[in-house]
C-alpha cells in the first residue's frame, strides 16, 4: 500500500545520486529488501513504472535482492537465518530471540549507469611537437 511512497523515495534518491554523473543514463537500480521490510515486490514494480515514466529514469530497470532474516541467539551464541518470520526462534536450539541482525533492509545498494564515451581531448601544439 505504501509502495508508491517507497518508489517515489527511490526515484528522488537515485536522481540526486546520478546528478554527479552528467550525461549518464540510469540503466538499473539495485535494491536490497529485507524479508521484514513490509514491501510487496510486485506492487513496488508496478509503482516503479508509474513513478519513473516522466522522469530522467524512464526505462530504468529495478533489480530486487531479498535479504533473509538473520538472528543472533543469546542462548547458544550463534547467528542463523530464519526460515519463516512466524516465529523468532533460534533454528539451532529453539530458544526465542529478539536480537535481529538482518532482515529489515530497505536499501538502494547500487545503480548502473550508461555513460557516453569521453571524446579524446584535442592535442595542444606543444604535445604535437613531442
Amino acid at each position: 500500500m505504501h509502495e508508491l511512497s517507497i518508489a517515489s523515495s527511490i526515484v528522488e534518491a537515485v536522481i540526486e545520486s546520478a546528478a554527479a554523473y552528467p550525461g549518464a543514463r540510469v540503466k538499473e537500480v539495485r535494491l536490497r529488501l529485507g524479508a521484514l521490510s513490509a514491501v510487496v515486490e510486485d506492487s513496488l514494480r508496478f509503482c516503479w513504472e508509474l513513478t519513473i515514466a516522466d522522469t530522467s529514469l524512464a526505462g530504468a530497470l529495478l533489480a530486487i535482492k531479498t535479504v533473509p532474516v538473520v538472528v543472533h541467539c543469546p542462548a547458544c551464541g550463534k547467528n542463523s537465518q530464519l526460515e519463516s518470520v512466524q516465529s523468532f526462534r533460534c533454528p539451532l536450539c529453539g530458544e526465542l530471540t529478539a536480537d535481529l541482525l538482518e532482515g529489515r533492509e530497505l536499501e538502494i545498494e547500487s545503480i548502473e549507469l550508461e555513460e557516453p564515451d569521453q571524446a579524446e581531448p584535442d592535442l595542444t601544439p606543444d604535445q604535437v611537437k613531442e
Binding site: 505504501h2 511512497s5 549518464a24 512466524q86 547500487s110 548502473e112
Partner: protein, 234 residues
Amino acid sequence: MTTRIVELRRGILKKNDELAAGLRLRFNAAGVLVLNLVSSPGTGKTAFLERTLRELLARGFRAAALVGDLETDNDARRLAASGAPVRQINTHGICHLDAEMISKHLAGWDTVTGANGAELAGLDFLFIENVGNLVCPSSYDLGEKIRVALLSVTEGEDKPLKYPTLFNSADAAVITKIDIAEPCDFDRTLALKNINEIRPGIKIFETSAKTGAGMEEWLAWLAAERAAPERLKS
C-alpha cells in the same frame, strides 16, 4: 557507451530517518516521552488514547496527542474532550504518517500548551495515533521512543503472525477490549504466545478502555518510562 556501477548503500527512507532522528533529539531535549500507537482500523486506538489522556491529566501529567487519519477530524475532536491539546493530521489518502508530517504539525505547539520557553517543554507525554494500518507504518520512524502495537480481542489471535513486521518492530503491545473477550471466544493464552513468538520478551498490557481494566498497570508503566533517565538521554 561505457557502463559504470555506483555503490550507494543508501537507505531508501534516508530522508525520513534523518528527519526522525532530528525529532528524537528535540523530544529528548524537551524531556517529552513520545509514543507511536499503531494498529488496524477499529482496534480502539482512539478510545484507549482518550482514556489514557484523561487519566494522565487527572494525575497531573501534561499530555498531548497528534492523530493521523486519511480524512475527518472526528478523532481529534473525541480526544480533545479529554482536555489535552490535540492536533489532527489528515494524510488525504496516504496510508501512514511520516516524520515530515509530524514535524509540520509540531509548529507552534508552545502556544497550544501555553508553555513558555523551549518548544514542547510544557509536555510530559506526546502520543502519536498513527493511521489505522498494520503494514505501512512499520517502515516510518516518527522520532518516537516507544512504538506500541495494539490488538483487540475481536481481531483474531493470529494477527501478530499475519503482520510480523509491525509486531516485531514494536516496543510494547496492548490488547484492547478485554471486556468483550468472552463473547468473542478470545483465546488469551494463544494471543500472548503469538505476540511473544514474533517479539520475544515484549511488554504486554491487557486493557479495556470501557471498564478501565488494565489501565492502572499501563499508566504506571508510562510514568516509569517517563522517569527513566535512559529515556531522556539524547
